[in-house]
């Protein structure tokens, strides 16, 4: 793969030496190809785990000695995207405090490749991500939490003894405060 990219770079370089119009056109095409190739590498690395609710449910009910933070989001949900960095920060900063973040995407299947994967690549998301694809929301929403009306963002914080649910947006401070309640 590396060799292929190198070859393309050589080609671009070769094109740059030339000033005729046709070659200029070729150059832009080649550059575009390189960009595509680069993006392909990133996106192909992203192996989306797509679950129905039955498959997701065990991840909402883990029994290990940890604190789990589960956030329901989607790339099309502006308040979700806004708070996503806070969950990422939590995942990073609270690692040694036994906290695990799980991001459950509710993106539409037709946008997995066009929106979700590029979003994950662009923002270099580090938290674990799964995708929930289950159209019968009326059945599974109450199983996540009885109080959930279905609006996102929504977040569960739980350990094996306790569970809290939020249908709201978080600031980093609020999020840390809620998680700290589980730690202290």
């Amino acid at each position: 793969m590396m060799r292929y990219v190198l070859l393309l770079f050589v080609l671009i370089f070769a094109c740059k030496q030339n000033t005729s119009q046709e070659d200029v056109k070729l150059e832009t095409e080649t550059v575009a190809n390189v960009q595509d190739a680069n993006q392909d590498i990133n996106l192909k690395d992203i192996d989306l785990k797509v679950y129905n609710f039955n498959e997701l449910e065990p991840l909402l009910n883990k029994t290990e000695d940890k604190i789990y933070v589960v956030n329901f989001w989607a790339t099309w949900c502006a308040p979700c995207v806004k708070e996503l960095p806070y969950f990422e920060a939590l995942n990073e900063n609270y690692k040694n405090k036994n906290v695990e973040v799980l991001l459950v995407s509710l993106d539409f299947p037709k946008q997995y490749d066009t929106k979700l994967k590029p979003f994950i690549a662009k923002h270099k998301l580090k938290s674990e991500i799964v995708v929930l694809n289950d159209v019968d929301a009326n059945t599974w929403i109450p199983k996540v939490d009885k109080e959930w009306t279905g609006a996102i963002p929504a977040t569960i914080i739980y350990n094996k003894n306790k569970r809290v649910f939020f249908e709201k947006s978080f600031t980093l401070e609020e999020l840390e405060l809620e998680v700290d309640k589980f730690i202290n």
Binding site: A74, W76, C77, A78, P79, L106, F108, P109, V135, D136, A137, N138, I141, P142, K146, E147, W148, T149, G150, A151, I152, P153, V164, F166, E167, K168, S169
Partner: protein, 204 residues
């Protein structure tokens, strides 16, 4: 004695959950409540109230917007509901609840454009000042309330989703709103009175 203890424990748990409940969720109409009328501006510049519809037997009140993918996925189905039920006495009234400063794509101008593009035949109202959606207790778009006109007022008969498949109208198995309106038209009780669906938070 054990029974009493169990009951006490249950009461505590229920009460605990209840008191923990988001305050927002406790507000708003429940099935059986009488809905207060509203007076909101339509995309044609006029104001619309439920009392304007002399011949209506009820309404399919739909909180929706231009910018939420779930709402967009249901646009054609909302239009189809109006086509199917307006003349039978259950017209659709759509209300856009978002703060347009947060979502400029939901401005009155944008609402007009979208309605033109899609050929909406129902009123598409702006919840100016965002006062109506909290009365209903709507939390997201789309969020539907089927109300029936009675002597004591417009009574909520159904709250929730249009159907059970936002992704594909062809694969819908349960048409919640249609079932509710059909039941009311036939003088029957609505069987499924509340459903849950994913949607976009109303932007404040």
């Amino acid at each position: 004695m054990k029974k009493v203890l169990k009951l006490m424990l249950l009461t505590t748990v229920v009460f605990g959950i209840w008191s923990f409940t988001n305050v927002e969720n406790d507000k708003g109409y429940k099935v059986g409540d009488v809905v207060a009328d509203f007076k909101l501006q339509n995309i044609d510049g006029r104001t619309v109230s439920m009392s304007d519809f002399d011949d209506a037997k009820g309404f399919i009140i739909t909180f929706t917007c231009n910018t939420c993918p779930y709402a967009v996925a249901y646009e054609d189905r909302i239009e189809a509901l109006n086509k199917m039920y307006a003349e039978k006495g259950y017209p659709v009234i759509a209300i856009m609840p978002n703060n347009v400063k947060v979502k400029p794509g939901d401005s009155m101008e944008a609402m007009k454009e979208r309605a033109m593009e899609k050929g909406f035949t129902f009123p598409y109202l702006m919840d100016e000042g965002q006062r109506v959606y909290p009365q209903f207790g709507a939390t997201k778009t789309p969020h539907i309330y089927v109300v029936q006109k009675t002597k004591k007022g417009n009574v909520v008969k159904y709250i929730g989703a249009i159907d059970d498949n936002y992704q594909n109208a062809e694969e819908v198995k349960k048409k919640y709103v249609e079932d509710a309106v059909n039941a009311l038209l036939n003088g029957k009780e609505v069987e499924v009175t509340e459903t849950k669906a994913i949607g976009c938070t109303i932007k404040v």
